[in-house]
């Protein structure tokens, strides 16, 4: 290492992707991409420097390394304290995520044939004015090596797919999606996920619902018992628990862009975050499931772990890094540093931040109160930059009376304050209804990085939530 460099790590990444899409019976996307490069991170004079290049010749890597050191030394012009890293054992490991059917081994004809069949099924229903389907496969091999001696070779395969139907009538555009909005479901799996989703079987229902929404009553306004499906609850977890527990946000690193957090350090082990049935973990281990936040080691070489975030309603833990762990009295990072590719610096990112299954049957979740509103599939999401006030819109809702699904409601939305919402949690469905959802598009950092995160959830009921309709009427 160059003089003054106290630590360095490198990540060489080779990323492959296939993307296919259809729109109204036509192929709207058929592309593949690959990206190969190296990111070099150094600690010199107590400051970080990072340089990335796709020139993997010896001279290219040498130039990038020298630039990283130059950048670290420039950082010292505005330094308050030396950066120190929590210790981590040296790891030498190979790890490949489980993948039953290699998605890249499937033919493009097979992929498109399935998507076009779904597309056709959606358009068979009168009133559907736009049908869209998509499928995406990603394989990322990463070799991490550090000056401490770690050498970690990881390969992760991710599959995603979904579809949406739109209907335009009068002055209204409605949308329904399966299995989730914004591209569907994404997991750390192979093509077996496509088979599990059974998209063709669900297409007629989605087409029928999107047209029916035009005739549905607007969601009523007021305070209601609210039941959320697992996919919407996954995004609720992401925004109102996942981001607030990122310790770099808490400490101010994201103040200019993504924002900060209401979970100031004095709240740890003191704040009643949720009701007593609320238990949340940040778990990157394969034992938790095939999530977008599942790996063996994070991007600074820390082994995957499970951290209690909320236990019996009490706030118990942040997501940390080697640099920040000491701020909360920990002597080891809990392994959440990830970058979205070789060209970017690892940041604290959600792993799989999941609401543990509850003890209720689905009948108890829906039938535990006389009247409730059930909302399904996210349509819009927004939360303030400290993560207090949120507002979510969903694609569809139904009135629930005595546990039975009643009239359909359109343009539903709900809003609240994060801790008040989680403290109103009254019932959580059991493991039989629990799904590990993938959020593929989480933005953070400058330059902005887009990361996939995992969120396990089952349908749950919340008491006294402010509900309304997002219509302009």
């Amino acid at each position: 290492m160059r003089q003054g460099v106290t630590y360095a790590d490198v990540r060489v990444e080779d990323i492959h992707e296939r993307h296919l899409a259809t729109k109204n019976g036509r192929v709207a996307g058929a592309s593949s991409s690959e990206s190969y490069g190296v990111g070099i991170r150094v600690l010199a004079g107590g400051c970080w420097g990072f340089a990335a290049t796709d020139d993997l010749s010896a001279s290219g890597i040498e130039r990038a390394g020298a630039l990283a050191v130059e950048i670290a030394r420039a950082s010292a012009l505005a330094k308050r304290r030396d950066t120190e890293l929590a210790p981590e054992p040296v790891h030498v490991a190979d790890w490949t995520s489980p993948c039953t059917i290699d998605p890249f081994s499937t033919s493009v004809e097979q992929n498109l044939s399935m998507l076009l069949a779904v597309d056709a099924e959606l358009r068979r229903h009168a009133g559907v004015t736009l049908a869209e389907t998509s499928m995406i496969f990603t394989r990322r091999r990463q070799v991490f090596a550090s000056s401490a001696g770690s050498v970690i070779d990881q390969t992760r395969t991710i599959t995603g797919a979904g579809f949406s139907a739109f209907s335009y009538q009068g002055d209204e555009i409605q949308k329904r999606s399966y299995p989730n909005s914004f591209g569907g479901q994404y997991q750390l799996k192979g093509y077996e996920l496509i088979d599990e989703l059974q998209m063709l079987q669900h297409a007629p229902r989605i087409a029928e619902e999107v047209v029916a929404l035009h005739k549905a009553d607007p969601c009523p306004e007021g305070s209601f018992d609210l039941i959320l499906d697992g996919s919407q609850l996954a995004l609720q977890i992401h925004e109102s628990i996942g981001h607030p527990i990122e310790l770099d946000r808490v400490l101010g690193s994201e103040a200019n862009y993504a924002g900060m957090s209401f979970l100031t350090l004095d709240q740890l082990n003191r704040l009643r975050y949720g009701s007593e049935i609320v238990n949340v973990v940040a778990d990157a281990r394969l034992d938790h499931g095939p999530g977008l936040g599942t790996f063996a080691f994070d991007d600074e070489g820390v082994a995957a772990q499970s951290t209690d975030v909320i236990r019996d309603g009490q706030f118990t833990g942040y997501m940390t890094s080697r640099e920040t762990a000491s701020a909360v009295g920990e002597n080891r990072s809990n392994g959440t540093m990830r970058a979205d590719g070789w060209s970017h610096l690892p940041l604290i990112r959600m792993t799989n931040v999941s609401l543990e299954p509850g003890g209720s049957t689905l009948e108890e979740v829906f039938g535990g109160v006389d009247q409730a509103i059930y909302m399904e599939t996210n349509k819009s999401w927004s939360i303030d930059d400290k993560r207090y006030n949120f507002q979510f819109g969903c694609e569809a809702a139904w009135e629930i009376r005595n546990g039975k699904r009643g009239r359909m409601l359109k343009n539903p939305m709900y809003s609240g304050i994060s801790t008040e919402f989680w403290n109103s949690c009254a019932a959580i469905a059991n493991r039989h209804h629990w799904t590990l959802w993938g959020v593929p598009n989480c933005g953070k950092g400058q330059p902005e990085q887009t990361m996939g995160t995992g969120h396990g959830a089952s349908p749950s009921r919340f008491h006294g939530v402010k509900v309304g309709a997002s219509s302009h009427e």
Partner: protein, 452 residues
């Protein structure tokens, strides 16, 4: 014509020749390539110190092959002979597996055309030490106010080209510098951001002073109830909110019936004082003067005196609509079609100070945050105010207020603009950079108050 050091025209031609030769060996004649190369360095600071400091150098080659009604794309950053040939093979394999597209058009022909460039060597050559020095000075100013600074200073250069086997060659390069700063007081904050193709050494300290002033003025924020208010949106807030509607000014979006302009083009929708253009050649704009197929961008009158008039067309959507392409198409194949990307909203003559002076009771907004569409036909958006929200009473800014959530139709907003400032180049986080005025808007709908 000068070339960027990142990507020369000669190298572009060499790569095209290699791609065409590889395709011909596989019996494919029609090849289009897109090339890009860039360097971006970003110095990031928080808690009054530099905490992340990065530099990235990258390239890409994207190959599209075409045969009959079939097309597909493969992208790589291995821009040497093996990588080029592998990308061509991959595109051909995908193309041959793909379903036919009856609407697919032949490659656009043409030759090399000289275009404007916005490349300034002093930006491209900014050193880590120069960025760190500017950041240190900005931090000192904010710290002198007893506040805490966070932000970025980035400098970047990039070059891009599109060429095809029918003779088309388009090339563009530019530089960009961005400075953004948040100044935080005990219970308040202020923010300022600017971007430019040029190197403007005074910008960091000017923006730091502005952010610090806003943080100081909004100390001890008062809570006011939600409801309808007169608002004064500074240019960044206008960009954040108005920027959400321009994807709908698209021939493909109209054909898909997913645009709020469906059945409304040519009808009076906004106020007489609203005129909006797409103009890549505007002196305050940036970006390539051609689209994803190489069609030169032409100026669009998107809205004239409140009437949506023109939308963008790719070559394919222009054929469907029986009109000419406008140079706003995305690279093929794609789902979205096209979109305007160089927005210029015509301004007026009222300064922000004059807007404040003419307001009896209202709210001054620096910036908006986390904006999402909740209703697509009236373009109802929700989001939050952030980093400098003030109460205006009797013509004066009287105090900072707690941040508010809005649920506001952009269509309604553009009907209710009572004053506009001269337009400036604005930069935010919720939409791409635009040339926009500040706006005074009547009846802006805030629905909730947050806790800070």
């Amino acid at each position: 014509m000068n070339d960027s050091a990142l990507l020369s025209r000669k190298r572009c031609q060499e790569i095209l020749h290699a791609a065409v030769a590889a395709a011909r060996r596989a019996g494919v004649e029609d090849v289009e390539i897109m090339l890009g190369a860039g360097e971006e360095s970003l110095t990031r600071f928080a808690n009054n110190q530099i905490h992340q400091n990065v530099s990235e150098r990258s390239r890409f080659l994207s190959v599209r092959t075409m045969a009959g009604q079939h097309t597909a794309r493969a992208t790589t950053n291995r821009v040497e002979r093996n990588g080029i040939e592998a990308a061509v093979e991959q595109a051909i394999a995908l193309m041959r597996s793909s379903e036919p597209d009856p609407a697919l058009l032949p490659l656009l022909g043409g030759s090399e055309k000289a275009g404007n460039r916005r490349y300034f060597a002093e930006v491209a050559e900014t050193t880590p030490a120069a960025r760190a020095q500017a950041v240190a000075e900005a931090i000192r100013l904010v710290e002198g106010e007893g506040q805490t600074a966070a932000g970025i200073y980035s400098t970047a250069s990039s070059a891009e080209a599109i060429l095809n086997s029918a003779g088309l060659f388009r090339y563009y390069d530019e530089t960009k510098s961005v400075f953004s700063i948040t100044a935080m007081d005990d219970a308040s904050s202020g923010w300022a951001k600017a971007s430019s193709p040029h190197y403007e050494p005074a910008i960091p300290i000017t923006l730091a002073a502005s952010a610090a002033r806003k943080a100081r003025l909004s100390r001890n924020p008062r809570e006011i109830p939600s409801g309808e208010y007169t608002v004064i949106l500074e240019p960044a807030a206008v960009l954040d909110l108005a920027g959400q509607i321009f994807g709908d000014f698209s021939g493909t979006a109209l054909a898909d019936q997913r645009s709020f302009l469906t059945d409304r083009l040519g009808s009076k929708l906004f106020g007489d004082n609203i005129s909006i253009y797409d103009d890549v050649n505007h002196s305050l704009q940036a970006g390539a003067p051609f689209d994803g197929e190489g069609v030169p961008r032409r100026r669009l009158a998107l809205v004239e005196r409140g009437i949506p008039t023109e939308v963008a067309y790719s070559r394919a959507s222009a054929v469907t609509a029986g009109t000419e392409p406008t140079g706003h198409g995305f690279p093929l194949p794609n789902e979205g079609g096209e979109s305007p990307v160089n927005i210029v909203i015509a301004g007026g003559a009222t300064t922000v100070d004059e807007m404040i002076a003419s307001t009896n009771y209202g709210i001054l907004v620096t910036r908006l945050w986390y904006i999402r569409e909740v209703e697509p036909y009236e373009k109802v958006m929700t989001g939050m105010t952030r980093d400098g929200t003030f109460l205006v009473e009797d013509g004066q800014v009287v105090c900072g207020i707690r941040n508010l959530r809005f649920n506001q139709s952009v269509v309604e907003l553009l009907k209710n603009v009572s004053a506009l400032s001269p337009s400036v180049r604005a930069s935010g986080e919720e939409a791409f950079d635009m040339v926009v005025p500040a706006m005074k808007v009547e009846g802006f709908r805030f629905t909730e108050v947050t806790k800070f």
